[in-house]
């Protein structure tokens, strides 16, 4: 039992997610991101290549200045790491925060 728990706790996933909405990761999308991240027990880390921040903190996410086209590296560590990455991928890349993508 203990061993199984340990395996679960150590689950770690990561993904590179591209910001697709034209306005980028401004405050409203940042809040959506943090809302989703906080639904999970896993630790969530977000990096834009220069800055590495806590994916559950709205102030942290607001300082990434992730413009449209920016690729963010998301790392999740914990019992629900995989679900967390899947949910964030859906929000960022599929739903692009329910906002328009750039006009072609």
């Amino acid at each position: 039992m203990q061993a199984e728990e340990d395996t679960l706790e150590n689950e770690e996933y990561e993904a590179e997610l591209e910001i697709k909405n034209a306005e980028g990761l401004h405050m409203r999308p940042a809040m959506q991101f943090v809302d989703i991240a906080n639904r999970f027990d896993s630790e969530i880390n977000v990096s834009n290549g220069e800055t590495n921040v806590d994916g559950k903190s709205i102030m942290n996410i607001s300082m990434l200045a992730a413009t449209c086209g920016t690729k963010l590296r998301i790392k999740a560590k914990g019992p629900d790491a995989r679900q967390a990455i899947d949910a964030l991928r859906e929000l960022v890349e599929e739903k692009h925060f329910d906002e328009p993508t750039p006009k072609k």
Binding site: M27, N60, A65
Partner: protein, 157 residues
Amino acid sequence: MKFRDFVCFEATITDLQANGRDDVITQLVSSLDKAGKLEEGKCREITKEVIKRENEASTGLGKGVAVPHIKHKAVKSVIASIGQSSTGIDFFALDKQPVYSVILLISPADDPDEHLQAMESIFKHLQQERFRKFLRQCRSAKQVEELLTEADEDPSL
């Protein structure tokens, strides 16, 4: 982007005597208007839009700070004014605590990247406890200017 480069110190109010959130927003927008930073005649429209945006979701992100903001064509580049209240304002903040430092930000309508860079600059400092504490202690626009200049030079502040 440096913090002090887009703050209008002339429009800084370090002794806000305000009757609630909307009054704070009204004073800070009008202060920018008086400093000549907004297109003429747009002050009321901007005030209304900032309040409308704030009603959709509070920009009081906790820890005593709020960053009300909109994008508007009345500005050509990002401009901010800072307000301080010693008694605290109810900004319907996420942590339900009063807000002591308000940074009002108006960004151009057609440059989302510039808006994001200004936000980055603001939150890089606001998330530091020391910076928030020093900001709250500022009693004049000059002190705010000195703090921001120092903070721009020293990322740990």
